[in-house]
């Protein structure tokens, strides 16, 4: 008999302890490991960890941090989703330290800057990010320990996470309080500099557990989104554990289709970009009966997609319904831990991004949606001005235009903030890219925006300079600037469209380029 669990937890530790009590011997995580066997072709096999094993491992890692004198400090974690990543995260927050998850796709210099800015004293990194660890060891002066989830190589003082864990015993004695800071998550800011969102145990634990979505324990979830994002951390991991789900780890975005076949999930959290691609796969075989197509693409057992991070065309809801798949569209932002509203079960409304979470209230001020509740962040780390601009008497200004209907459903109508939300849910600051492109002498004015799902740069070149330099192929020269920028930028910040203009941009009264 499957149990339905529904209880609100106030700390991440409390959530984990309860999950272990309720589901101890059941699998918490499943993931692929490579088995070299005879040394020839590597075979892939699936390994699993139970709730009890997971809790024990996290406690040992808490003990590791205490033994290093790092309890209560800021600990960064860099790498793709892995069992080690999750153990490190829970070990950090369970010890009363603050986890700082960082985007593994950022350039190494940017990661080091964030490590310094977040006052990180210990870095936990995945073997694949050895380059960052080496740079951090040489340049991040505040760093005391560097711990690799595999074998540390190329470091003077690298430590091995699982060697350290092996020396500890289970049962770390610490009880974090709900108001303690648990995590600093970086998100793109409108000024071009990313901001560290400070979230407490209460912020995260209550966001993940205050709503009973009717999910049954034992539900198999495939986690495909980047784990340094609040949406994945909260909904896949924290919520997943609290309800007793089996969380399967997708090793790469390359292998989503393959891993769906391997792990046979019931539910996947996605961003609209993924839904669009999978929709093409479903429609590709539209002449075959819908249940067969669904079985081929997602497996017979699959039933739910949770969508968040960006706008989803409502046509996909209808399309997936044809195949017996329900899409639950939600809405949130890192600053709200992150879920603000979601459609689920019988609580669905066309055109809405869902019903307001039970721990959240909302109001509209000058058409902008403001929210308040136990999941609203404490502020931006060491950015009092930006915090003051975003929080007002406990209300979080979302930057989104919209309204709440009489039944508590949110409808969005536009955006106030100048931030590009890409279809994969990444927030990109146009100013950050504009500043980088503007450093080039040939670029007199530049505007970066989203156009049909891609980032576009429109450039007014410095024609006088081009004349002096005898540049004939202006479009080609500008493309070279874009190409050079793209080489340094992570995929989601790359520019895929270039427009050249012959006249200056129209300006507003403060001489700033009019964006819209």
């Amino acid at each position: 008999m499957v149990k339905k669990m529904s209880q609100t937890y106030h700390t991440i530790r409390e959530l984990l302890v309860a999950a272990e009590q309720n589901f101890g011997a059941q699998d918490a995580f499943r993931y692929k490991v490579k088995d070299s066997g005879d040394g020839s072709k590597k075979e892939v096999k699936v390994e699993a960890k139970t709730y009890t094993q997971f809790k024990n491992d996290t406690e040992c890692f808490s003990a590791v941090l205490a033994s290093l004198g790092e309890q209560g400090k800021h600990i960064a974690v860099i790498g793709p989703t892995s069992y080690s990543w999750v153990v490190a995260y829970f070990g950090i927050v369970g010890s009363g330290s603050v986890a700082v998850p960082l985007d593994a796709n950022l350039p190494e210099e940017d990661l080091c800057e964030l490590i310094d800015r977040a006052d990180v004293t210990t870095l936990v990194y995945d073997e694949a990010k050895a380059g960052v660890a080496q740079m951090a060891e040489n340049h991040c002066k505040g760093l005391k320990n560097i711990i690799c989830t595999g074998e540390p190589q190329g470091l003077v003082n690298g430590l091995s996470m699982w060697n350290l864990i092996g020396r500890q015993s289970v049962g770390f004695d610490y009880t974090p309080k709900p108001e303690e800071l648990a995590t600093i998550m970086f998100t793109s800011g409108t000024t071009g500099k990313s901001k560290g969102v400070m979230l407490t145990h209460r912020n995260l634990a209550e966001n993940a557990t205050c709503l009973d979505m009717g999910l049954e324990s034992g539900i198999v979830i495939l986690s495909v989104l980047p784990i340094h994002h609040a949406y994945c951390l909260s909904m896949d991991i924290l919520k997943g554990l609290s309800i007793g789900s089996v969380i399967c780890i997708n090793d790469s975005l390359l292998r989503v289709a393959k891993n769906i076949k391997l792990f046979e999930p019931n539910m996947i959290l996605m961003v609209p970009l993924m839904i669009e691609t999978l929709a093409k796969k479903l429609e590709e075989a539209a002449w075959i009966p819908a249940p067969l197509v669904k079985a081929k693409v997602f497996g017979k057992q699959f039933h739910t997609v949770c969508s968040g991070g960006a706008y989803l065309n409502p046509a996909y809801l209808e399309m997936f319904k044809k195949y017996g798949i329900t899409i639950w569209q939600g809405y949130g932002m890192t600053e709200c831990s992150p879920v603000i509203s979601t459609n689920y079960g019988a609580f669905m409304k066309d055109g809405s991004v869902g019903k307001l979470m039970p721990n959240c209230e909302a109001k509209v001020v000058d058409e902008e949606l403001w929210v308040k509740g136990s999941s609203v962040m404490q502020g931006y780390y060491k950015m009092p001005k930006e915090t003051e601009e975003t929080l007002s008497d406990g209300w979080l200004k979302t930057g989104d235009l919209g309204y709440v209907d009489q039944d508590g459903y949110i409808f969005l109508t536009g955006r106030k903030k100048n931030l590009i939300i890409t279809p994969n849910g990444e927030n990109v600051s146009p100013e950050e890219i504009e500043n980088k492109l503007g450093d080039n002498r040939l670029v007199q004015e530049v505007l970066v925006r989203e156009s049909e799902g891609a980032i576009e740069a429109e450039i007014f070149p410095d024609y006088e300079y081009a004349g002096k330099k005898k540049i004939k192929d202006m479009q080609g020269e500008l493309q070279k600037i874009i190409d050079a920028y793209n080489k340094t930028a992570p995929l989601y910040k790359r520019i895929y469209k270039l427009k050249m203009r012959e006249t200056e941009f129209e300006k507003n009264t403060t001489k700033k380029i009019k964006r819209f």
Partner: protein, 73 residues
Amino acid sequence: MFEKLADIITNYVEVKKEDIKPESRFMEDLGFSSFDFMSMLGEVEEQLDIEINPEEAADIRTVQEAVDYLEKL
């Protein structure tokens, strides 16, 4: 390899096989999204029974670059 890849490409974007050129750029010219591109590489992995490094693959921009990369594996 080019032929095989062109066949797979047509499963992901609405483009005729004859319009796919070696110099075609996946995102800009063929209309791939980043996830389309990743999924396509996953299909290539399965069909050719090879292993692609996602970090290296992120730098591929044109069909020819993809062919060169795959032939090296």
